[in-house]
Amino acid sequence: MDLAKHWRLRHARYRLEGQRNRLTGEVRFPPAPLHPGEAEDTWEPYVLSGRGRVYSFSIVRQPPEGFEDQPPYLVALVRLDEGPMVTAQLTDCDLDQAAIDMPVEMVTRRLRDLGPTGLIVYGYKFRPIMQM
């Protein structure tokens, strides 16, 4: 059921917490362990803004196990303003509304329900930016 795994990933999944390189300022997401030889304090936690643009997208109609109740759903690669690219579903977006370069913002939603004896997995999705 991966209780511990989902718990380990919660900060990245819930609030888009990645890392910033203390020396170069480079931002990366998701957070990753040090490479062999990297100094311990090379990377610090960094919360990304959640703003970005759609690099490309598709619509899943033949889902993998665990997502059978969701199709058709939009999946996309989103280029975040800080530089990294993420893979995520688009939500609050009509199937014919999605477009390459569409500006989007991160929202926290249910990714999967692991069933009556399992966890609800929450994480990031992206939606077209809401008018204020």
């Binding site: 795994k5 990933l9 998701p30 690099y55 490309s56 997208f57 598709s58 619509i59 899943v60 109609r61 033949q62 889902p63 993998p64 196990e65 665990g66 997502f67 059978e68 969701q70 759903y73 999946v75 996309a76 690669l77 990294p84 690219m85 993420v86 893979t87 995520a88 579903q89 390459i100 990714l111 999967r112 997995v121 994480g123």
Partner: protein, 384 residues
Amino acid sequence: MRHVYIIGTGATAVGEHWERGAASLAIEALTGALGTIPASRLGALYVASALSGTLHAQSQIGALIATAAGIPGVEAVTVEAGGASGGVALRQACMAVASGAVDLAAVVGVEKVTDVLDARREAALALATDADWEAIQGITLTALWALLMRRYMHEYGYIADDFAPFPINAHANGVANPHAMYRFAITADKVRSAPMVAEPLGLLDCSTAADGAAAVVIASEGLARELCASPVRIAGSAVATDTLALHSRPNPLWLAAAAQTTTAALRSAHLTHGDVQVFDVTDPHGITAALALESSGFVERGTAVALAREGALTPKGRLPLATGGGCKARGDTVGANGVYQIVELVAQLRGHAGAAQVDGARVALAQCMGGIGATVATHILTLD
């Protein structure tokens, strides 16, 4: 390092083998590859399977197949690298024989996917993606290729219809291949009107995962000349990886591992891109083959689709591709694809490819990839 030769090939038909398990399929292929050589002469056995462990709750597939072949005791390993398993297994065999550690080795690719329901199969294919950052989002490999296709169309000005020559060519060639799952031609109209699987990929530009096994026996030069009338040399062999997740790449439309392994394999073979006359690459979709050909350096970026439109992919064209039907018509045997590719290309080099024969083929390239090119294995086969 010694030269390495393929001296035997074998394969089962690809399809829904309800009455056969993985071992049965694997032994059929191995038997075909061994011919009159007793299995007990094998110094090593490399079994390639992407999904057997996961789908059948079975580890140690190497020992499983060795036992089924009647040779428990042989050095056998399971090789898993998603869709690149077959090519990666071949590379292990090549290194073992080239180094002198082993004189005779067999590579068996086997995949048995039809025992499980569609959603489970789709999830198993998605194991080749990043579990924590791609698969958890409900992504499928098809959806990732689809979004790459959409980006490619956006950057280079194509429409979805432009990709139809890929599956049309695959199906036309599949007619001539007795192992192929689908042996009928398809038209551009059928491709266009097929239902969407993951926009913009329609059903007829998506391969079907199916059961099958393919095997090759490889030998050192001396043994090859002794045991085989028409050995085919493995002149180049390379494996490389790229970032596991597609989103970690600087340019998602560039398959760096395909580029790297093609360069390395050509260099080992002392050949150039222009020398390659026939290709078999992982091609579940037209976009996959297009990106593979471009990243491997055979055509300029953004032009593979235009060239396909001009007929380059057919056996008479400039880039004969999927002469055995490819993933689309031969069938997508995932981890075994890399070995099916070798079986097909050996037939081409020996002049046994029938209606899909590329005239005078002497140099062939096989390339298989795991996930979106996270692992790529490229081999160059030549006639001496």
